[in-house]
């Protein structure tokens, strides 16, 4: 049975700029928002977009991530004609290779895609925070009879040099593309979300694979090649919240943004199906004690708060003891903050115990990762 579209999620990155958070964890497996892992966002997006076949390409610290993906049940991808598979680099007749580039990761899994035989392939990164219905992007892709559609976002001129920047014509067709330009010609940035016509993708990957000068990267090689060959490459304008959480600062910022998003139709969520799905721990609802005080914060179940928490994200199984003061911080699961400790502008890594009366980063604007 052929499918219209399957998703391939690139989740192999190490995320070196998250330091201790990714020492033993792939970046997409890092905790976010008090309850989720970063990869829950793209997995949920696929599920909510009715894309029920998802391949997750793993590489760095792949075992835990593969265990987390499991059979896809967390995101509802374990039904009939649905599947979620974690795919690590493997040994075949041809030998064995790590993924050397984003395009190479897909190239090495052509056999998997062939077996799915989809008309289109959606390629995503596993470490971005955003909510998106990919069907809207797919319908633009179909309408334009595109070989490739790239989802784009307007960024500021200052940020533009960090992205793949493109120029489009009146029909949204991409006429120019530059990867991380020193002098950006526009502010239209690639989000690293691609929908390819599978036949085209397959041909491009094959021809790129035999080019010894190629980095086997979508942004650096595949997309410029396709533009040079005058393939039909279009842009899909996304306008919504999107964040790459690759640094301690951006991870913290995204968590803080979640606190601010109080205007969303919160009570639609109980009736709507478009939630972010993840792992639900079997915890008691969180408890705020007689001296506890919580304001402007997000608190997950299983937490026990006996001190003061302001403008922070408190994950499950976190204990904040009496006389503590937590401000502007992200406290990851399993952390115990002992009596009288004070934390400001920090991310505390999972399962750490903060000693009594310890003070961390008070009065500083810079974000600090506390990992011991």
């Amino acid at each position: 049975m052929s499918k219209q579209i399957v998703a391939m999620i690139l989740a192999g990155g190490k995320g070196t700029r998250l330091y201790e958070l990714t020492k033993k964890n792939a970046k997409p497996a890092v905790f976010f928002g008090g309850k989720y892992r970063i990869i829950d966002y793209v997995m949920s997006n696929c599920s909510n977009s009715n894309i029920n076949t998802v391949g997750v390409l793993t590489q760095y610290e792949s075992i835990d991530l593969a265990g987390y993906i499991g059979n896809g049940e967390k995101w509802g991808l374990n039904g009939v004609r649905s599947s979620a598979v974690a795919i690590a680099p493997k040994q075949t007749e041809e030998g064995s290779n790590w993924f050397v580039g984003t395009a190479d990761a897909i190239f090495q899994n052509i056999a998997f895609l062939d077996s799915q035989n989809p008309e289109h392939v959606l390629i995503l990164s596993g470490d971005h925070i955003y909510e998106m219905d990919y069907r809207k992007m797919l319908s633009v892709h179909l309408e334009k009879k595109a070989d490739l559609t790239i989802s784009v976002l307007n960024v500021t001129l200052e940020e533009a040099s960090r992205f793949g920047i493109m120029s489009v014509d009146d029909n949204d067709r991409i006429v120019e593309f530059e990867e991380k330009p020193k002098k950006p010609k526009s502010t239209l940035a690639s989000m690293g979300i691609y929908i390819f016509k599978y036949k085209t993708l397959r041909a491009e990957l094959l021809s790129d694979s035999v080019d010894p000068n190629s980095d086997h990267d979508f942004g650096k090689n595949i997309i410029p090649n396709m533009l040079a060959k005058k393939r039909r490459v279009f842009a899909y304008q996304f306008d919504g919240y999107w964040k790459d959480v690759g640094t301690i600062k951006s991870l913290w910022e995204a968590n803080m943004d979640l606190i601010e998003m109080v205007d969303e139709p919160y009570f639609e969520t109980i009736r709507s199906r478009n939630k972010i799905y993840g792992e639900d721990t079997h915890s008691v609802p969180h408890y705020v004690g007689r001296e506890g005080h919580v304001t402007q914060s997000i608190v997950n179940q299983g937490a026990i708060i006996l001190g003061t928490v302001h403008h922070s994200v408190i994950s499950n199984e976190v204990i904040i003891e009496e006389d503590c003061l937590i401000t502007n911080s992200v406290i990851m699961p399993g952390v115990t903050v002992k009596r009288g400790a004070k934390l400001h502008n920090v991310i505390v890594a999972p399962n750490i115990t903060i000693a009594e009366k310890r003070e961390e980063n008070l009065g500083n604007d810079e974000i600090v990762l506390v990992h011991k």
Binding site: E291, Q296, V299, Q301
Partner: protein
Amino acid sequence: MANILGILNLHHSPELGPLTKRRSIASTSFLGRYAFMDFMLSNFSNSGIDMVATLVKKHPRSILKHLGSRNIWNVNTKNGFEVIAYNEQGIKFGERYNTDIANILENKWILRQANPDYVVIAPTHFIAPIDFRPVIENHIRNNAEITMMYKEVDNAREHFIDASTFTINNDGLITNIGQNKGAFDRINVSMETLIINMDKFKELLEEAKNLSAFFSIYDVISYRLGLGERVHAYEYRGYLRSFDSLDHYFEYSFELLNYTMRKELFLEHWPIYTVTHDTPPAKYDESAYVRNSFVANGSKIAGTVTNSILSRYVHVLPGAKIDKCIILTDCEIGPNRELEYCVIDKAVKVTKIKGIKGTVDNIAYIKEGDIV
């Protein structure tokens, strides 16, 4: 390794006043997140009892909604099973015929499929973390055919009223089963929980026909006890409460706001599993003031909540004051509304009435779906 069948017997469930008008106590919300049946089902699961049948007497709608289509408690979903046993004897012939024995006989296939060596039968309204493994080991060591569990309590003048009481001889055998009418402080209260050999169980089911069509399992055992049947007693020590009235539901729920009590029910390595709904973490606004309360996920707090239990998706608007209340799922407490000593059922909107004040002896109740 013995085959053990667990039976959750709902045929003797008490009423919790208006809370159980439309639902069984088994599926009634507890502590903002659980259903009462979760506790015994988790006890079975954690004790390695993977074949479980729930005998439903009435209100199948609410039980089906909770147990639904997902298998939460089984360890192995092929070798274990979790089934609902229901019968229509009551509807066809009158409520007296709707006994637990009639239900089991109507659903004999469960006994055939499980083919157990031992059967563990337990109710849902005695909340306790019970590890059945030592109880079963003890049963086998004693060469017992029937073992019944009890706890020695010292508050029987006001608690456990109408519960069965055991008189136990020096050999650990039950010599008499009575009923607690509040005459004494100290009694051996029956937990209505028994271990029985399959052969003996079949014998009792067979004999019931010749005794009375209206006899329950406990009636037959009481009868047999009178004829000299050896029924062993097993003393349970640990947290035990019988949720047998709305007042006690209120009282025992609030007891658990105390950390020490909580630690007695929620043991370190004894998780209580429940149906999960991927509910996002709770959000606290700038004006939130919460003290000594449980708050479930999905809730949004902008007002004052003290000494209360909030279930999922409870929206407390600015200026609202909630004290000593239990609020079920998906309620909205409007701006400046004041609630005291209330039990608010699901999906209620408190928007027009200025305040609802019950008393400790006369708890105010608002029924499901009402706007007040």
